[in-house]
């Protein structure tokens, strides 16, 4: 039996929805009608069979990346490796930390090869590949508490910025986190790089040994998790202001290091309603409880 991905346009008739197994993409492109159409067809064509391609190397992708040597074959798999390799010498990381961003990038590349577009995004569950040409901008919305209705802030990304990837990591998402951050949003030159860095920084927002933090081995929750028996955060109790500040500071230090190394263009860290910004422009406050269309 051939398994086919789900390929549909969303209600607005403008955005493309691609879903296959755990991959769920929202794609939007702006440009001439025929070009957008060609880009969407290219995206759908590239998406078909993409999951099988990844799964062919799944066992290796779930192993810690060897900082010196890449034995992966697939284009996406190698892109995942490249994104995590800078971290592999100093920390535990597997190529899976960049899977969402790498897939978003691949679909974006397929679209841009098919047609010229003025701007486009591929949003893979919050890990987003961007394309911006000429004077194009995107407005990016950030929630301070992804787990509940909270304050929405926005930043503008311009074609002249080097940012082409945005990714968010934290303990509320579908992936496990070793840290306690509600959300760490990273801006980087590629979606895969943003994805990997967001994972690393979110892991660094932490209070090791704190009594209010509940952790369980990842493998107890998901038997085949790439994190194995490492402890992942399942609940965070009440933290005092000093605790929050300490955890954020740890994450900030990590983010500054990555910024200095040229691995990221900026980061926004959020924990318990408090936030901190590293290298990114200041954020405009948008009305709370409202999702702007552009943020998708």
């Amino acid at each position: 039996m051939i398994r086919r991905p789900q390929i549909t346009l969303l209600a607005d008739g403008r955005r493309l929805h691609l879903q296959d197994g755990p991959i769920d993409l929202i794609v939007a492109a702006d440009g001439a009608t025929a070009d957008v159409r060609a880009a969407y067809q290219a995206a759908a064509a590239r998406f078909t069979g993409l999951l099988d391609e990844l799964c062919a190397e799944l066992a290796e992708l779930r192993r810690p990346a060897d900082p010196a040597h890449c034995i992966l074959q697939g284009l996406i798999a190698r892109r995942m490796y490249q994104a995590v390799a800078p971290f592999a010498a100093t920390t535990f990381i597997t190529p899976m930390a960049a899977v969402a961003g790498a897939v978003a990038e691949e679909i974006m590349a397929a679209m841009l090869q098919a047609a010229p577009l003025s701007r486009a995004y591929v949003n893979n569950g919050g890990d987003i590949a961007l394309h911006l040409a000429g004077e194009a901008t995107y407005s990016l919305g950030l929630m301070d508490r992804p787990d509940r209705d909270g304050m929405m802030r926005a930043m503008t990304i311009r074609a002249s910025d080097d940012v082409r990837g945005v990714a968010t990591s934290g303990r509320h998402g579908r992936s496990f986190s070793l840290g306690i951050a509600d959300a760490v949003t990273v801006l980087a030159r590629t979606a895969a790089a943003a994805d990997a860095a967001a994972t690393v920084i979110a892991n660094a927002v932490d209070l090791p040994g704190h009594a209010a933090i509940v952790r369980r081995p990842a493998s107890e929750l998901q038997p085949d998790s790439d994190l194995g028996c490492r402890l992942v955060t399942t609940a965070v109790g009440d933290l005092c202001d000093a605790d929050v500040a300490e955890a954020l500071a740890a994450g900030e230090a990590c983010a500054r290091q990555l910024l200095g190394a040229g691995l990221i263009e900026g980061a926004v860290l959020q924990l318990g309603g408090k936030g901190s910004i590293v290298g990114a422009p200041p954020l405009d406050i948008v009305r709370p409880r409202q999702l702007p269309a552009a943020a998708a």
């Binding site: 549909t8 209600a11 197994g21 755990p22 769920d24 999951l51 799944l58 038997p223 085949d224």
Partner: protein, 484 residues
């Protein structure tokens, strides 16, 4: 993975919905958050989350690619199809069908009339892919001693049973009707049913599984009749053995006399066969049908041979006897009295026997549910029932059963057949009439629905149905060969 923590719970399951193949613990979901382990059973948790969110945000559902110049390579799934399972109905159908649902599909307003039909005119056709003799044609098939149908004409190596129908359901005793109804429902729901055939075998039939005949699970069908087997393998036997007899219930083949043997200049051996010769090398009725060699009743294959002709036969001649499934085989050498004596089989002949086995298809039961939606059921759909029939014939209305495609038999009424393995689990029920309750859906354009006298006042938008009914089940779209 090798570094997973000690695994206390042994009842995790492996999801095969996508190639990620997640191991999922009880109460947990896979990487996609769509499939979960509920008490050891893989369930689909939230199949249309984005679609539902879109609807909740006041959005409109628009199908992708409405203009029709797509390259056709990628088939997109219909967004949501409402099946009739659990819709309920009354009998006779004097009021509009329980759910008349409109949704958008391919850019036109579509309406799906969803009802569960109560079919007292219904039955199942069972095709059992086995050469094993099950019983004579027209023999009664019984469950718990009650007649539920009969053996009908066989089809290319498969045994066919015709079960159910109005006479067994309502024309006989009360018990006969009840037993027939239960058997039809179980067969249609892909459950095993044990049946006994008058002057034949006892067989356990389950859709999608191999038949169990007289307590033994069948493995394979014959590769062909004995004559066909000679034709297929004559070349592989040439030079390795003097004579080959392929034993079969229908046509037994003899290599040296067969056209294939003649073409290869295989010499006559003086063999004499019992049975009725059809054409050279092809014999009918070498034995009675049974559960022995090649679907015959024999356990010693030499019983079908007469004495060898001493004018042609020589001591030391070799002979292979094999059944059409390769399950039985023997190697013989003629002694000085020209009597065949069994000897160990040489490896190159064993190889050809294995090759016959390898070329046999697996034994399998398939069940087609067949019913007529000709009567008052149509009145639940429209106030002018014959127009629905005509609309189906004109292919304006698509008929499905539990979302599965059906074949509508040409001619009068709406008589349809559906492969029960393509329908969602538990799709069939019954009423004490007795009759089988099966889902049936008619899908047509809203404008066509109005034109054929549809109950326009009762048309609900899809969203209203989802809001109204808490016990709706959403299922993945049925795929060929897989039960949802």
């Amino acid at each position: 993975m090798t570094d997973t923590a000690s695994d206390s719970a042994g009842d995790k399951i492996r999801c095969d919905a996508c190639p990620v193949m997640c191991y999922i613990k009880p109460g947990a979901a896979g990487a996609c958050d769509r499939y979960a382990n509920q008490d050891g059973v893989l369930v689909r948790v939230d199949p249309h989350i984005l679609l539902q969110r879109t609807v909740a945000h006041g959005g409109k559902l628009v199908p992708f690619q409405t203009s029709g110049d797509w390259d056709g390579k990628i088939v997109h799934q219909p967004e949501l199809f409402v099946t009739a399972i659990g819709a309920g109905t009354t009998y006779p159908d004097y009021k509009p069908a329980p759910f008349i649902v409109s949704s958008e599909l391919d850019g036109v307003d579509m309406v799906t009339v969803v009802t569960e039909g109560i079919f007292s005119y219904c039955g199942v056709k069972v095709k059992i892919d086995t050469d094993r003799y099950l019983g004579p044609e027209t023999a009664i098939v019984r469950v718990d001693g009650e007649a539920i149908g009969h053996v009908t004409t066989s089809e290319y190596g498969s045994q066919m049973l015709s079960l159910g129908g109005v006479h067994h359901l309502t024309g006989g005793s009360k018990k006969e009707g009840r037993v027939t109804c239960d058997a039809l429902m179980d067969l249609s729901n892909c459950k095993p049913v044990e049946m006994a055939i008058d002057s034949g075998a006892t067989v356990i039939v389950q859709a999608g599984e191999a038949p169990v005949v007289n307590g033994i699970r069948e493995e394979r069908m014959r590769v062909g009749c004995g004559s066909a087997t000679i034709g297929m393998f004559a070349k592989q036997w040439q030079g390795k053995v003097d004579e080959v007899v392929v034993v079969d219930d229908h046509i037994t083949g003899v290599l040296s006399e067969h056209q294939a043997g003649k073409l290869l200049d295989i010499a006559a051996t003086g063999i004499r066969m019992k049975g009725r010769r059809s054409t050279p090398g092809r014999y009918f009725q070498v034995a009675e049908p049974g559960t022995g060699w090649g679907g015959t009743d024999i356990s010693d294959p030499l019983a079908i041979l007469g004495p060898f002709d001493p004018k042609t036969a020589r001591p030391g001649m070799t002979m292979l006897m094999v059944s059409t499934t390769g399950e039985h085989a023997g190697y013989y050498v003629l002694d000085d009295a020209l009597k065949p004596v069994e000897q160990p089989m040489p490896p190159e002949l064993k190889f050809s026997v294995d090759r016959i086995q390898e070329n046999c298809e697996p034994a399998l039961c398939t069940v087609l549910f067949m019913a007529g939606a000709g009567g008052s059921l149509r009145a639940g759909v429209t106030d002018n029932p014959v127009r629905l029939t005509r609309s189906v014939k004109d292919a304006l209305t698509r008929v499905t059963s539990g979302g599965a495609p059906v074949y509508v038999w040409p001619g009068g009424g709406i008589t349809f057949m559906v492969d029960v393995t393509q329908m969602p689990a538990g799709a069939f029920g019954y009423v004490p009439t007795p009759a089988i309750v099966a889902p049936i859906e008619f899908t047509l354009k809203l404008s066509d629905y109005a034109a054929l006298g549809g109950h326009m006042d009762f048309v609900l938008p899809l969203k209203a149905l989802k809001d109204a009914s808490k016990d709706m089940r959403e299922l993945p779209w049925p795929q060929p060969g897989h039960r949802a």
